[in-house]
């Protein structure tokens, strides 16, 4: 299935997709489907809907590969941005409101719900944990609720009983703080994620 594409860069795989090379999409799937699925499942808390999102994201790439611009970040980031946007759309739709309420009730009962726990099993977990650990708890919590919980910053403010301005500031500052730490750790370049 993977053919000659195992050693190809993400950018050249996307070019191959524009020539309808199925094996190129298969290789991109092999590299990134786990992350796409993991994020969709995390945000939606529903395995079946998460799988549908994964299908949609890869079929979108197949149909419109030109939407990926290598000058504007990595393919992984592009795919996860699309995944998150789609998952949040589903989450915020009327039909999913009930599911969401059930999910939130469940999450409230869960202990250890945080980024550090989530990244525990990664190959790069050690470095990433160090980076996440640089975040003050308040910033980390705001980012978790927005990103993994699919909440708007206004909703996060309501949940945490903090002013909206404080929350949007914490999200931005937290992301900037992690970016700096990731640059120092060599996990991203100052312009984007490094290729390894």
């Amino acid at each position: 299935m993977v053919g000659d594409f195992a050693g190809a860069s993400d950018a050249s795989l996307v070019i191959a997709i524009s020539r309808w090379e199925e094996a190129a999409l298969a290789e991109i799937y092999r590299r990134h489907a786990g992350a796409v699925y993991g994020l969709a499942r995390r945000v939606l808390s529903n395995v079946q809907v998460a799988e549908e999102v994964v299908q949609e994201i890869f079929l979108r790439l197949w149909s419109n590969p030109q939407r990926f611009d290598p000058g504007r970040g990595s393919l992984r980031s592009f795919l996860l941005t699309q995944t998150h946007g789609r998952a949040v759309d589903l989450l915020r739709s009327e039909s999913s409101r009930r599911n969401r309420e059930e999910r939130e009730a469940r999450q409230t009962a869960e202990a250890g719900y945080d980024i550090e726990h989530e990244v525990w099993d990664l190959t790069v977990a050690e470095q990433l944990r160090d980076v996440v650990a640089t975040l003050p708890y308040a910033e980390r919590r705001a980012i978790e609720l927005a990103y993994f919980g699919g909440h708007t910053y206004r909703e996060v403010a309501a949940i945490l009983a903090e002013p909206e301005g404080t929350i949007k500031g914490r999200i931005r500052t937290g992301l900037q703080r992690m970016h700096k730490a990731l640059v120092v750790a060599g996990m991203v370049t100052s312009e984007g994620v490094s290729s390894d």
Binding site: G34, Q66, G192
Partner: protein
């Protein structure tokens, strides 16, 4: 919002955590502000790293995606295609019979020139076959190719189990000779494409009857043949994923 207010929302925006009206305003600003675009890109790279929970996608999910890759009908139309924007338009008359000797030119010609020449070579005689079934020149040509030394290219769809056959004569005359594709309604047509370097070039419309014989010409620069379903009259560029395809 002021620029400062917009900047203060860039983190929340990157995480899809702003309201729809704020989103629209931020995106309008991003269109003209490279610095803020770069900030959003950086935020999203961070998010992509912390999103990775290290789990694998479920077994069998790829198979369900692969089934969708060669649908019998187009799933969506490419938009503002940077990669495909360089495509030449389909020739005005797909019935033109022009037999240029282009082989020597491939060595030096610019891609655009190559593509233009390829487009001029389209020879689609399907209408003639339809209107003159008893012994048209095309039928004779096909019979001649098939009865002499020739090679075949079989275009397939692994997922759908469809195939179509192209016969290629010794002088690179090629004929679409048979397929198990379905008949299309009269407002749709099959269209044949080739890939030259990274550009997709139309080789002509095949009509709604997938068994009409169509003639075209193979050139050394062609890497691949593909067939899509298009609106009647054909499209300047593919609007759907291929029904069948094959490397040349």
């Amino acid at each position: 919002m002021t620029e400062t207010e917009i900047e203060s929302l860039l983190g929340a925006y990157a995480l899809d955590a702003v309201d729809a009206d704020e989103r629209a305003e931020i995106e309008a600003h991003l269109a003209t502000c490279p610095r803020c675009r770069a900030e959003v890109t950086a935020h999203r790279e961070v998010a992509a790293l912390i999103a990775n929970s290290g789990i694998a996608a479920p077994e069998g999910l790829w198979d369900r995606i692969a089934v969708e890759l060669s649908p019998e009908l187009p799933v969506s139309a490419p938009t503002s295609a940077d990669l495909i924007a360089q495509l030449p338009r389909r020739p005005e008359s797909p019935h033109r019979k022009q037999r240029n000797y282009v082989a020597a030119m491939f060595a030096t010609a610019a891609v655009a020139v190559v593509i233009a020449l390829l487009s001029l070579q389209v020879v689609n005689l399907s209408n003639q076959v339809n209107s003159n079934r008893s012994g048209s020149a095309l039928s004779s040509a096909v019979r001649s190719v098939l009865s002499h030394s020739h090679r075949t290219i079989v275009l397939t769809s692994a997922v759908r189990g469809l195939s179509a056959t192209v016969a290629v004569g010794n002088d690179d005359d090629a004929y679409w000779v048979s397929s198990d594709l379905r008949h299309l309604p009269s407002n749709e047509t099959y269209q044949l494409w080739t890939v030259v370097r990274d550009a997709v070039v139309s080789l002509g419309v095949l009509g709604s009857n997938p068994n009409d014989v169509t003639a075209f010409r193979i050139a050394p620069a062609m890497a691949r043949l593909m067939v899509t379903i298009e609106p009647q009259g054909g499209s300047p560029r593919p609007t759907g994923t291929p029904v069948v395809s094959a490397p040349i």
